[in-house]
């Protein structure tokens, strides 16, 4: 099955949320006119990231992290036989240049840097190829996407998209889901919003209680929604059903007991099966 489209219609945040919730394994390419990125996922976790101008090789990642000097990187590049990232990592650890923790942290920071840069891409094609894995020589580090999604949402600058996602702040409330909050990095503002979540409080009321403007509250709620920490509900006490029944509805309600309705639906089922 395909998973492709344009970031204009389905944002980076939504894409990462989908990959995470569906626990997908595969490669995602993203392409704009000037840039491209390649992300690999394993069971919903990001394991490798690169762009057209940042290839995601270990030596470059360690250089960016300040663990290797430029001179050392050049020396590595000058070697007649190019080592794979895994072999280079082992060599560097054995020779005491870096530790295993340095490598893991540098790879993680590099991936985060790449993936955060993608949140500013508002247009561009994406395509997910299920089952595709990075080449064996690459070092992969699994990264939980919940925090990435939250942080990415904090970086959204376009109000328009947020309004599309959360149009009526005064008509909906929030409910905290079962997802454990201890595993995610929430900001003080996030906590302030969470502390006001109640079925009777609309999002607009939560914003008012925290002196937040619409853009701020939308950004926070959108991030928590995408990370699956909260869900939208109708506020308590709001009339959810129509106040008035139409004539046809009144007629039907008067005439039909549950037994009669069941019998009618069973007749419909039997007939449709024979169509």
């Amino acid at each position: 099955m395909a998973l492709q489209g344009n970031l204009r219609d389905f944002s980076t945040t939504q894409l990462l949320n989908l990959v995470s919730l569906a626990k997908k394994t595969g490669a995602m390419t993203l392409e704009t006119d000037d840039n491209s990125a390649l992300l690999y996922f394993r069971e919903g976790k990001l394991i490798h990231a690169s762009t057209n101008n940042r290839a995601g090789r270990l030596a470059d990642m360690l250089l960016e992290a300040g663990k290797l000097a430029e001179k050392q990187v050049k020396a590595i590049e000058r070697q007649p036989k190019q080592l794979s990232d895994k072999a280079l990592g082992i060599d560097l650890i054995r020779s005491g240049v870096v530790t295993q923790q340095d490598i893991i942290k540098s790879v993680k920071d590099f991936m985060l840097d790449v993936v955060y840069s993608l949140f500013s891409w508002t247009e561009g094609l994406f395509n997910f190829n299920p089952g595709v894995k990075p080449s064996n020589d690459r070092i992969t580090v699994p990264l939980n996407l919940d925090n990435v999604i939250l942080e990415g949402s904090r970086r959204i600058q376009e109000n328009e998209r947020l309004v599309d996602e959360l149009p009526h702040l005064d008509r909906v409330s929030l409910k905290v889901t079962d997802k454990p909050l201890r595993d995610v990095k929430l900001t003080p503002d996030d906590w302030r919003v969470i502390s006001h979540i109640h079925p009777r409080n609309t999002i607009a009321q939560i914003a008012q209680a925290n002196s937040m403007d619409e853009f701020q509250i939308r950004k926070i709620v959108y991030g928590m929604l995408q990370a699956g920490l909260v869900e939208i509900i109708k506020p308590e006490g709001v009339q959810t059903q129509k106040k008035f029944m139409s004539r046809a509805e009144k007629k039907l309600a008067k005439k039909q007991t549950p037994t009669m309705k069941r019998s009618m639906v069973e007749r419909l089922i039997n007939r449709i099966k024979r169509v």
């Binding site: 949320n17 599309d164 009618m264």
Partner: protein
């Protein structure tokens, strides 16, 4: 003679008219008009008021299928069409992610009109670019208790299955 109705809704060009046409025993009474806007020229004609199909169940019972117009400027018809419905089907064009947000909005509007059972039908599953029903469930934030069904609106068996699944959901609702 008793009549019951189901409503087929969804974004513009999701395949609502075709869905009803595939299963209806009569030629679908359609209110299609030629499309004037270049931007909306995905097809030659669009529904402006409603589509109307029929399935005779037995001597005493008839099922009517109503298709809503997909374009927002005709949405004044939506609430009228939902009056007294048994349930509704939200048809999604699985190959056009640009319509997913609209599908979600339509779903919310219809849930507001009536607390009747509904199913989501992921149409055009025969096309190579189609998103899977599982991905659509996440993309559209559809509750795990709501059925998201694969569908090909030109295929009678597929349309039948969608209607049957809605009827099973209605039956479960009565039993609860």
């Amino acid at each position: 003679m008793q009549t019951v109705k189901m409503v087929v809704t969804g974004p513009y060009s999701a395949g609502k008219t075709q869905f009803i046409r595939t299963i209806s025993e009569i030629d679908v009474v359609s209110t299609e008009r030629k499309i004037s806007s270049e931007a909306e020229r995905l097809k030659d004609a669009t529904t402006v008021a409603m589509d109307f199909g029929r399935i005779t169940i037995d001597d005493d019972l008839i099922l009517y299928l109503f298709g809503t117009p997909g374009q927002r400027r005709f949405d004044f018809m939506w609430e009228i069409l939902t009056e007294g419905m048994l349930g509704f089907i939200v048809l999604i064009d699985s190959v056009r992610p640009e319509t997913f947000r609209e599908a979600r909005n339509i779903l919310e509007v219809f849930r507001g009109y009536a607390q009747t059972p509904y199913v989501v039908s992921a149409n055009k599953q025969d096309m190579p670019d189609a998103w899977s029903p599982e991905d659509l469930r996440i993309a559209l934030k559809i509750d795990k208790n709501i059925k998201v069904l694969p569908c090909v609106a030109t295929d009678k068996e597929s349309v039948k299955q969608t209607i049957l699944e809605l009827l099973y959901s209605i039956l479960e609702g009565i039993e609860e």
